[in-house]
């Protein structure tokens, strides 16, 4: 039972990675002069859309929280709206945090915001898919012994690794190498993407290694 769960998790994660790789290659067929560094904003948008789409598909296929009692249309619509609001809120709060961390306030606003969107895609969208617009559940998952399934565990790992990746991405900025990817926010977006992908790879492996220790309260 548990092994099959881990397998499903692995496949889902591989799909996410695949979507990121696709977002690098597919647009070059349709757009001229597409490259990650030069048309960075375009790539960011495409990557965000792809990852969101894959997450939604996974959500619709997998239906992780089957406990929703009501299934009326109005409930679904309010839920969807709530999700959108949550997503926007997270984008804005990430933007504020970036500015507080030292990002320029008045210049490169669009770039900073697209980084916030990307990071939200990597962190908030999976949370929304898995836990729904339920802030208390989020707080619960992101605390010690808060995870109640391997999905929530993997959510912890991917989210934290995305954050750490973004954080590490800021370090090359002051170096005097003069590379194009050192500009704000390219190194951070790349860091976030690599961190997210690393999290996607690491979390099934970590769960597999620790499958003996991981016991959840629910089941």
């Amino acid at each position: 039972m548990k092994d099959t769960d881990i397998k499903r998790l692995l496949y889902a994660h591989l799909l996410c990675i695949f979507s990121i790789i696709l977002s690098i290659f597919i647009p070059s067929f349709f757009l001229e002069n597409f490259s990650i560094l030069e048309t960075h904003l375009t790539w960011l948008c495409i990557c965000s859309v792809f990852v969101t789409a894959v997450n939604l598909v996974l959500y619709l296929v997998g239906k992780p929280n089957t406990s929703s009692k009501r299934s009326s249309l109005s409930y679904k619509v309010t839920r969807l709206l709530k999700c959108c609001i949550y997503f926007l809120m997270s984008c804005f709060s990430f933007h504020v945090i970036f500015v507080l961390y030292g990002a320029p306030l008045t210049e490169l606003v669009l770039e900073t915001f697209s980084l916030a969107v990307l990071l939200s895609t990597f962190t908030t969208v999976p949370c929304l898919c898995l836990l729904g617009p339920n802030f208390k559940a989020w707080l619960r998952v992101f605390s010690r012994n808060g995870a109640t399934s391997i999905w929530e565990n993997s959510l912890q790992i991917t989210t934290i690794s995305s954050f750490v990746g973004t954080w590490l991405g800021a370090f090359p900025i002051p170096l005097d190498w003069g590379r194009p990817w050192q500009e704000w926010p390219i190194s951070c977006t790349l860091g976030a993407t690599f961190g997210y992908m690393a999290g996607l790879v690491i979390s099934p492996l970590w769960i597999y290694w620790n499958r003996k220790e991981l016991t959840y309260k629910n089941n």
Partner: protein, 1168 residues
């Protein structure tokens, strides 16, 4: 329910035996001894660090004093008349000029082998085809065709082989070291006598084109100049093409006497691609063409000099002292014949090696100028031969006269220098003086009898050359050589001391830790080693170097300590527990450590430090959440019984802590707006708010800014007063508190008035000028005097406590809930239930007391719970105001932010630290690291940068009437300005320990801010758990001292690894391009900052100990008074109180030894 402890206590008190009294005395003395040994230990650790820093500095930073004396035409260098050959010739200075014009082509990093003539294919080896070989064909051609007109030398540069130092050497003829101690740190302008100055003073037109470093070195010296930016190392062509555009037109126009062209392309190509790259070949070919073009345009009275300022390594870098870096090209050419003979044809590929600075006296004498005063180069005698009549005698005489002038000048310099500075070796100096006087006498004798043999002339020439070379060798020895042994020793000492800090800080709070035996042995060992060394040195008669002596003593005391510690540690614990830091904090400290090894990160530290601090803060918040300390979700459903367990950590609301974190980030970001760029670069612009208000034009904006600054001052004052008021310390009648109430506003008034005068001094009417000037001198002095008086008062009476004799039983108080009606919510219930409980307890206690016969006389003491931090905060405020005065006006906003953000940080940290009653108390690593990060961040946000031109020199004139009244006072003022943040954070370091205890009353305060109007709030009920606050520390004096020691050592460790990283970076990267520009200044600023911080830290800890001692004696007096007053009385102590007017005294347990053993009964507010 336990039986009330006071019952047991009173039982115990009835059976007091005299023996206990003696015990009390000894315990008091022991506590004092403990404090002294803690301070001594910290001082010893600081001294170890200082010894390491001094040892490293003595090996790394070679210093030299700059003399501002100048040579002049009218004043010959020696007592004798001007030499042979120059007499009677008009326009001649020291010597007749041979050339009236010179073209100096400086090709940066033109290594010697770039111009080396290719070996003719005589030997069987195949010719090596490196891209840079044989590209300067025009030189070779000239050398072959006109051997009498040109000569190629290998010039030997002295380290440091960085462009600025080489330019200084090439113009002053001296040996620039990193620190040339002169009058002027504020700019790079050369203050010593130099060739350019001599050119200008003799009326020559100097035209410059090329590297804009010259602009900083010789501001305003050039009659015409074309500067091009040298900053971008990757740009190979801008400078060179810019020069080439102007070079030939300028030459053809003839409006010049001295033409200097400084090409950078070769150097930049080396940095970017390395020498073995096709680009280098292109660059050299371009230079070759340029030289070709120049040679064609030269006229007969012109000398062409082509030289490189230094070489480059195989990888294309420079800065160090390797063979490849120091060898450079020197090529001389003139259309008139220069040399009487062709070059000796022994080995044309190995030309003569001459020191680089020889060019300076040679050029000066060839052009008929005085040799710059500080030159220690030797003239190239070959160039002073008579070319026309090639009699060997007259040639030798000409050479001897040039050498003699040169020797006289060098002797004059040596004489002046050794009188001004003591860093030259005395013995060697005497030897050289004797040599000079002998040579000089011989030369004079030869002049008297011109028929002297040629052999005698040659002897004189050799003697002069010996003298000049001896001087150079001696100067190199003391000015221009790294001492690797000392550098390595210093780094090792620093590292060992850091390790010691780590070890002992872990050890300090473990049980059974006794400091004194640990302290005594190393100190005696160190003293012994020092004495033995001194004795040895004295007996052997060697020169005594205090730095080495200090280092020996440090090592001598460190080794036995480490050995003993190792033995003690190994037997008890595993080494794994040595690194007790939580992983993320360790990672952040490691990043900070590693960042100091990258020049980019050192330059960008103003942004990197706030980034790391913000990361640490978010990490703290996230960690609090992760550990479930932010939200009490599990407890939400269970009725809260928190008041029954008062030792538990205060439950902070999540939003509250999150607000603290966001507020901190906001403060840091706002403070970052006051940013100063390390240097003028287009990408970075300094904040316009760093300049003083006086420099502003536009009255309205100025007035608004002035208002904002005064507003910041007033709000700083109001915040401090509010804080003291909140903890009740403002009600005390103690003089220090009175000073806070009345002296601080006076200081604010003085500061505001000073700013008004300083910013509007130019607009004052002329009649009031003198008055304004006098007032702007007196006001800062008055503020500083007030601050000093306040600090003195604080030291004299540090206990800010209000004592009141309370009549009647202290426990009869109204219990009134600040709301009426049925409880509506859980919160109300939470509130009411304790009230009822309290009431019952009250009743019970009243009954119990009534059983006792006598009603106790009670003394209520307020604000004991915050007595330490109140003293600290007062001291910090008193320190901050004079420091603020030294900064530009608008920095006051940063100071306000500084206080605000440290307040927020302390609160945030306190949320994560549990209050442990019995001890041991610890300050976690993240707290200490965050504090150190914040000190660094504030250093930058107050507009400082670790480079010399960025020092705020104007601070030297605050409150000083005359310019340079005393240089030590100026240095003190500038230092206080530069290291203001270091001082404040180091002195405030003990707050890290105290604040969690202070926040203990937070929970109760929270409750008070619930609904309810003023009247209800005033009769707010007593809390169940009386917050003991800082009195908990007094309950365990041993743990208190250990915690202070641990705190000090941890802070020293965090600072120590920074200085260690700086020293290590400077050691490892001493060949780096940026070592003199980035790493060395950073090391110096860190070193000074460390010294200032460590002194401040010791003072801060000493202040806490002084308060502790004062509190002890206060208790003793109180107890004595009570004993005198009545046979049995009650003592009531209170923690915090906001409105002392109707304050209800809290009962505070005071288990200090004195009280336990005295005959007074003590109310003990227990949990029943």
């Amino acid at each position: 329910m336990r039986s009330p402890p006071w019952a047991a206590l009173s039982r115990a008190c009835t059976s007091v035996v005299p023996g206990r009294r003696r015990g009390r005395c000894t315990s008091g003395r022991r506590s004092r001894m403990q404090k002294i040994s803690v301070l001594l230990f910290l001082a010893w650790v600081c001294l170890l660090f200082y010894a390491g820093i001094a040892l490293f500095t003595s090996g790394f930073l070679l210093t030299r004093w700059e003399l501002t004396n100048h040579s002049s035409c009218q004043e010959p260098p020696g007592p004798e008349s001007l030499p042979w050959g120059s007499r009677g010739k008009p326009g001649a200075c020291w010597m007749a000029s041979r050339f009236s014009r010179v073209v100096l082509v400086l090709i940066d990093a033109l290594r010697f082998d770039f111009a080396q003539p290719q070996l003719s294919h005589s030997s069987g080896e195949p010719p090596v085809s490196l891209p840079f070989l044989g590209k300067l064909g025009s030189l070779k051609k000239i050398l072959e065709i006109q051997p009498h007109h040109a000569r190629l030398y290998q010039s030997k540069a002295d380290p440091p082989t960085t462009t600025m130092q080489r330019l200084k050497a090439l113009t002053t003829g001296s040996l620039p070291t990193f620190i040339d101690v002169g009058n002027n740190f504020a700019s790079y302008a050369i203050v010593e006598d130099n060739l350019i100055k001599q050119f200008v003073s003799t009326g020559k037109r100097v035209v410059f084109m090329g590297d804009d470093t010259w602009k900083d070195l010789f501001p305003g010296a050039f009659s015409k100049a074309f500067f091009f930016p040298s900053f971008d190392v990757r740009d190979l062509h801008t400078v060179d093409n810019g020069i080439l555009e102007h070079l030939y037109p300028t030459m053809d126009s003839g409006e010049w006497d001295v033409l200097i062209a400084h090409f950078l392309g070769v150097d930049h190509c080396g940095h970017k691609h390395g020498p073995d790259h096709p680009e280098m070949a292109k660059k050299l070919s371009q230079m070759d063409q340029m030289i070709q073009g120049l040679v064609e345009r030269l006229e007969n009275d012109t000398l062409l000099v082509v030289t490189g300022d230094h070489g480059m390594t195989v990888s294309g870098n420079h800065g160090g002292d390797s063979e490849l870096e120091t060898s450079a090209v020197l090529f001389l050419y003139s259309p008139t014949a220069l040399f009487p003979s062709a070059p000796p044809e022994v080995r044309p590929e190995k030309p003569e090696v001459i020191p680089q600075i020889s060019l300076v006296p040679t050029l000066a004498l060839l052009l008929g100028l005085p040799i710059p005063f500080g030159n220690i180069g030797e003239v190239m005698a070959e160039l002073f031969s008579e070319v026309e009549d090639s009699q060997p005698h007259s040639s030798a005489l000409a050479q001897a006269s040039a050498l003699h002038l040169n020797a006289q000048q060098v002797f004059r310099f040596l004489h002046t220098y050794s009188a001004a500075a003591q860093d030259l070796q005395v013995k060697e100096l005497h030897r050289l003086q004797n040599l000079f006087s002998k040579a000089s006498a011989n030369y004079q004798r030869l002049l008297q009898s011109p028929q002297g043999a040629e052999a005698a002339l040659q002897t004189v020439i050799t003697e002069m050359q010996q003298f000049l070379r001896g001087v150079r060798a001696m100067c190199i020895e003391s000015w221009a050589r790294f001492s690797l042994v000392r550098m390595a020793g210093g780094v090792a000492l620093l590292a060992a001391t850091c390790f010691l800090c780590l070890l002992v800080s872990q050890w300090a709070t473990s049980p059974g830790f006794y400091l004194r035996p640990l302290l005594v042995m190393p100190v005696t060992c160190g003293l012994t080693v020092a004495t033995v060394c001194t004795g040895l040195l004295a007996t052997t008669g060697l020169q005594l170097d205090p730095v080495v002596l200090g280092a020996m003593a440090a090592v001598g005391s460190l080794l036995p300590f480490l050995w003993k510690a190792w033995a003690g540690w190994g037997s008890r614990r595993s080494m794994a527990s040595l690194l007790p830091m939580p992983g993320p904090v360790l990672l952040l400290l490691l990043i900070r450590f590693a960042g100091l090894f990258s020049d980019s990160f050192v330059v960008a530290e103003a942004r990197a430090a706030p980034f790391l601090l913000a990361s640490l803060i978010l990490l703290l918040v996230a960690q609090l959440h992760w550990e479930g300390k932010l939200l009490p979700p599990k407890l939400l459903t269970i009725p809260r019984l928190g008041f029954l367990t008062p030792t538990g950590p205060p439950r902070h609301h999540g939003v509250h802590t999150l607000g603290l974190g966001v507020g901190l980030l906001l403060c840091i970001r706002l403070a970052g707006l006051f940013h100063r760029c390390p240097e003028e670069t287009p990408a970075c612009s300094s904040s316009p708010w760093l300049s003083p208000l006086a420099s502003m034009v536009g009255g309205r904006a100025k007035n608004l800014w002035y208002g904002a600054c005064v507003g910041a001052l007033v709000s700083l004052l109001a915040a401090v007063r509010l804080w003291l008021h909140r903890y009740g310390n403002l009600k005390s009648p103690e003089p220090s508190v009175l000073f806070v109430r009345w002296g601080l506003p006076l200081m604010v008034l003085g500061t505001a008035a000073y700013w008004a005068l300083a910013s509007g001094a130019d607009e004052a009417p002329p009649r009031l000028r003198a008055l304004v000037a006098g007032a702007s001198v007196m006001l800062p002095r008055a503020v500083a005097g007030l601050a000093a008086a306040g600090l003195m008062l604080l030291l004299w009476r540090p206990v800010a406590v209000l004592v009141k004799a309370a009549t009647g039983a202290p426990r009869t108080r109204t219990v009134l809930a600040p709301f009426s009606g049925p409880p509506a919510s859980q919160a109300d219930l939470d509130y009411v239930v304790p009230q009822i409980y309290r009431h019952m307890q009250e009743e019970f206690r009243g009954r119990l007391e009534r059983t006792k016969s006598q009603a106790p006389l009670t003394v209520a003491a307020y604000q004991l719970g915050s007595v330490y931090s109140a003293a600290m905060v007062t001291a910090l405020t008193l320190l901050a105001f004079p420091l603020l005065l030294l900064h530009a006006e608008r920095i006051s906003l940063v100071f306000l932010l500084l206080f605000l953000q440290s307040f927020l940080l302390l609160h945030l940290l306190a949320a994560g630290i549990p209050v442990t009653t019995p001890g041991p108390f610890t300050v976690p690593w993240q707290a200490v690291s965050a504090w150190a990060f914040m000190a660094t961040q504030t250093f930058y946000s107050t507009g400082h940068q670790p480079v010399f031109p960025a020092i705020h020199w104007h601070a030297a004139f605050v409150g000083v009437s005359e310019r340079l009244e005393s240089s030590s006072l100026s240095a003190f003022l500038v230092g206080a300005n530069t290291f203001a943040s270091h001082i404040l954070f180091a002195v405030g370091c003990p707050l890290l320990l105290l604040w969690p205890f202070l926040c203990e009353s937070q929970g109760s305060r929270k409750r008070r801010q619930l609904p309810g109007n003023e009247a209800e709030a005033r009769v707010r009920p007593e809390e169940e758990e009386e917050p003991l606050m800082e009195m908990r520390l007094r309950q365990a004096p041993h743990h208190f001292n250990a915690a202070l020691l641990q705190l000090g050592l941890k802070y020293l460790f965090v600072l120590g690894i920074q200085i260690l990283a700086c020293a290590l970076a400077a050691f490892i990267l001493r060949r780096h391009l940026m070592v003199w520009k980035v790493f060395a200044p950073k090391f110096m600023f860190e070193g000074m900052g460390f010294i200032v911080s460590s002194v401040g830290l010791c003072l801060g800890i000493a202040l806490v100990m002084r308060v502790d001692g004062a509190v002890s004696s206060w208790f003793r007096q109180l107890v004595l008074a009570q004993q005198r007053g009545g046979e049995q009385s009650g003592l009531v102590f209170t923690g915090a109180e906001s409105s002392a007017g109707e304050a209800q005294p809290h009962l505070l347990p005071l288990c200090s030894q004195e009280l336990l053993t005295s005959g007074t009964s003590l109310f003990y507010n227990s949990k029943l």
